[in-house]
């Protein structure tokens, strides 16, 4: 079995009649954080949905822990936690109830203390935790969704714009949290607009443009990717 947790090989995906991913190839090693950057409609969410098996490749392969996604979706779902683009949780339930519900379904047993700790990590106000999500702001819902993804204790995280809607302090806390998870061996594939945040936590950054991987940046041993370099590349690609 490959030591790669996530692998895309010549991945082509079509949505409607249009080809939205063309020959995308990249891989993420176990315990690494990979950030996928790109403008709106570049194909970032499509990439995640393909790894989750909700979209089938027209050609090429998407593998998770060496397993072809299309061949065994259940395996992929058991091994991973997914944070959707819109925090898709139940508005009629409180933060705690949402977490209890999805964790019970995932067969993950967490104590109430674990749950409170996770909500502390994402710094969700304590007085809000017993209120229904229909009263939450977008950022608060996003925090609950992040807490859920973490609490799943899955070896792999697929995060679609996890920091959207979060305030700057919360973004910093989130980045710290991801770094800590990676240290403890979790593999993360995240989609983001936040160049600086991505460079802070990711060991590798991919730049996606109109379905094609047009740039790949890797952190030097013991160092970080330079945000300026990525930013320039991003801006250049954007102009074309």
């Amino acid at each position: 079995m490959s030591s790669m947790a996530i692998e895309a090989t010549d991945l082509c995906v079509e949505r409607g009649q249009a080809r939205v991913l063309s020959d995308v190839t990249f891989s993420v090693a176990k315990g690494d954080v990979f950030a996928l950057l790109g403008g709106n409609g570049a194909g970032k969410s499509t990439t995640l949905l393909t790894f989750l098996g909700f979209l089938a490749p027209a050609s090429g392969e998407a593998k998770v822990l060496g397993q072809d996604v299309q061949a065994d979706k259940k395996f992929v779902h058991q091994q991973s936690a997914y944070l959707p683009e819109a925090a898709n949780l139940y508005p009629h339930l409180t933060a705690r109830e949402n977490l209890d519900y999805f964790l019970a379904l995932a067969g993950v047993s967490q104590t109430p203390e674990d749950i409170e700790a996770a909500l502390d990590h994402v710094s969700l106000r304590e007085d809000a935790r017993g209120q229904r999500l229909e009263t939450y702001s977008k950022g608060m819902r996003q925090k609950v969704a992040i807490a859920l993804a973490i609490l799943r204790k899955a070896p792999i995280l697929f995060l679609d714009e996890p920091t959207s809607g979060l305030d700057p302090v919360a973004i910093d806390e989130f980045n710290a949290l991801i770094s800590k998870l990676a240290e403890s061996g979790t593999t993360v594939l995240m989609v983001t607009h936040d160049v600086y945040g991505a460079c802070q936590v990711a060991r590798r950054v991919g730049l996606l443009r109109r379905g094609q991987l047009v740039g790949l940046f890797e952190a030097p041993e013991g160092g970080r990717i330079s945000p300026d370099e990525v930013h320039q590349a991003f801006a250049k690609e954007h102009q074309q």
């Binding site: 409607g16 098996g53 909700f54 979209l55 027209a58 009629h92 519900y101 019970a104 379904l105």
Partner: protein
């Protein structure tokens, strides 16, 4: 806990927190309970009144003074159809067909006093039977509660959250179905109570249980239909629309279309045409009141020969009574031929309707319910036949008395001769020829056999929607290319 059960519990929590779910559930209970209470009071009152009227009619007949037996033939008698125990849930055709029949010599009257027509002014809801509430309104309640079950997850994107939590798609679907079955079971509770009331009123245990099971299967069909449609639609509004269209079609449109089709497929003459036909046929038969009618010449000749005498006055029996008896038998034969033709026509229409119940679970459960409750058309036919048998029996009993307990000479002279008139009055003891008439439900085994086909139809519908819903659920993880 199993994932499907967690999903089901989650669904219940959603309903209890949504005003729509709670309101629909309460409305469902109110409708069912009011219809049950009203109907059971009505049926109870009718049972008691028909029972006492029957006893009173029998006593009145038997307490008539000594008189000429033919006067009793014309005095006549009433029989009442007692409602079956399960009529508290499903009065079936009872409110539309007559429940009282006047029995007399020389005529077959149709049953009269159909409560639905006298109660028509009380408004539509007054006629909402529990059977209708369960067949038409409870599915609507289930739709209002359940249309969102899967569509809500799909519209809100939580379906993917569930799937990526590792829940198998068929478990999500199953959970939704279980939750809806829970609602059905709760709504079925009043029916169980009402059916147990029928049990105490003497209904068979197997029939009562099967009755409840049939309704449970019917609601299961709807639960599965709702889950299947909700799983097939991405939007709440689409799901609700599709289900409303299905409800309209299956509950409101198909049944009348099937009924008119049945009428077209086996047309029947109108009542006037049919009555005229009988009248024409009867005109050709002799008048039983006139022993000299040439129609009875042959009967007279046979009798004279049998007893070896030359004049009817010399016969040991009253020839007029013999004629009355023979004429009644002939007349009844003719009337029965026409009556059976009419019943056969109705049965043919009913048979077409029974087959077409494949088209709608509502039709299937309606026939199932009436058959088991013993309130279907076949039972009305049986009442008609039993009443006719009772009529024929007491009329012929009186005609026998007429033939045996007076002389021909007295009988023909009774309007001229006071003494003869006295001698042709027979003892009131003879009025005991009248049998007690009690209309009982059909045997349990007949009803079970008759209803099993409809139960099978319901099971087929359930299996179809189960397969569809499961397939649609499995398609949720099938990668979309679009």
């Amino acid at each position: 806990m199993k994932p499907a059960l967690i999903i089901a519990a989650g669904e219940w929590r959603f309903w209890l927190r949504s005003k729509l779910g709670v309101a629909a559930l309460i409305l469902g209970f109110v409708l069912i309970t009011t219809s049950l209470v009203a109907n059971s009071a009505r049926v109870g009152a009718e049972r008691a009144s028909r029972d006492s009227l029957q006893t009173a009619a029998e006593e009145t007949f038997r307490n008539q003074p000594d008189r000429h037996p033919h006067r009793m033939v014309h005095y006549g008698h009433y029989v009442f159809r007692a409602p079956a125990p399960l009529a508290v849930v499903d009065p079936g055709v009872d409110p539309y067909t007559g429940t009282v029949m006047f029995l007399e010599g020389h005529h077959q009257n149709s049953a009269t006093f159909a409560p639905a027509f006298s109660g028509a002014r009380a408004g539509a809801l007054a006629r909402l039977t529990p059977a209708m509430a369960y067949q038409l309104l409870v599915p609507l309640v289930l739709i209002v509660i359940g249309f969102a079950s899967m569509a809500r997850e799909r519209e809100g994107g939580t379906d993917r959250q569930l799937l990526t939590a590792g829940v198998a798609p068929h478990d999500i679907w199953l959970g939704k179905v279980i939750a809806l079955l829970g609602v059905s079971a709760a709504l079925l509770f009043p029916l169980v109570l009402a059916a147990s009331q029928a049990l105490f009123a003497g209904e068979s245990f197997v029939v009562t249980t099967t009755f409840i099971v049939g309704y449970a299967v019917y609601l299961t069909v709807w639960a599965l239909m709702i889950a299947a449609v909700s799983t097939s639609t991405r939007q709440l509004s689409t799901s609700l629309m599709a289900l409303m269209v299905l409800w309209l079609a299956l509950c409101l449109m198909v049944p009348p279309v099937v009924a008119s089709f049945a009428r077209m497929a086996s047309p029947m003459p109108s009542k006037i045409e049919a009555d005229l036909e009988v009248a024409v046929a009867l005109r050709e038969q002799g008048d039983g009141h006139n022993a000299n009618d040439p129609a009875f010449n042959r009967l007279r000749a046979n009798l004279l020969e049998q007893y070896g005498v030359h004049h009817v006055e010399d016969l040991p029996i009253n020839f007029r009574g013999v004629v009355a008896e023979a004429a009644e038998a002939d007349l009844t034969d003719t009337m029965n031929t026409f009556a059976e033709k009419k019943l056969a026509g109705e049965v043919a229409q009913a048979r077409v309707q029974h087959w077409l119940s494949l088209l709608s679970p509502q039709l299937a459960v309606r026939h199932f319910s009436m058959t088991l409750a013993s309130t279907d058309l076949a039972q009305h036919h049986r009442f008609t036949r039993e009443a006719e048998a009772a009529r024929f029996s007491f009329v012929q009993g009186l005609n026998r008395v007429h033939a045996e307990q007076m002389t021909y000479t007295d009988d023909i002279n009774r309007s001229r001769d006071k003494g003869a008139e006295q001698r042709t009055r027979v003892s009131a003891e003879n009025w005991r020829v009248l049998d007690e008439f009690r209309f009982a439900p059909a045997p349990a085994s007949d009803r079970l056999a008759g209803s099993s086909l409809f139960l099978l139809v319901l099971l087929l519908w359930a299996a179809g929607f189960a397969a569809l819903g499961r397939a649609r659920a499995l398609a949720l993880t099938e990668a979309a290319h679009a």
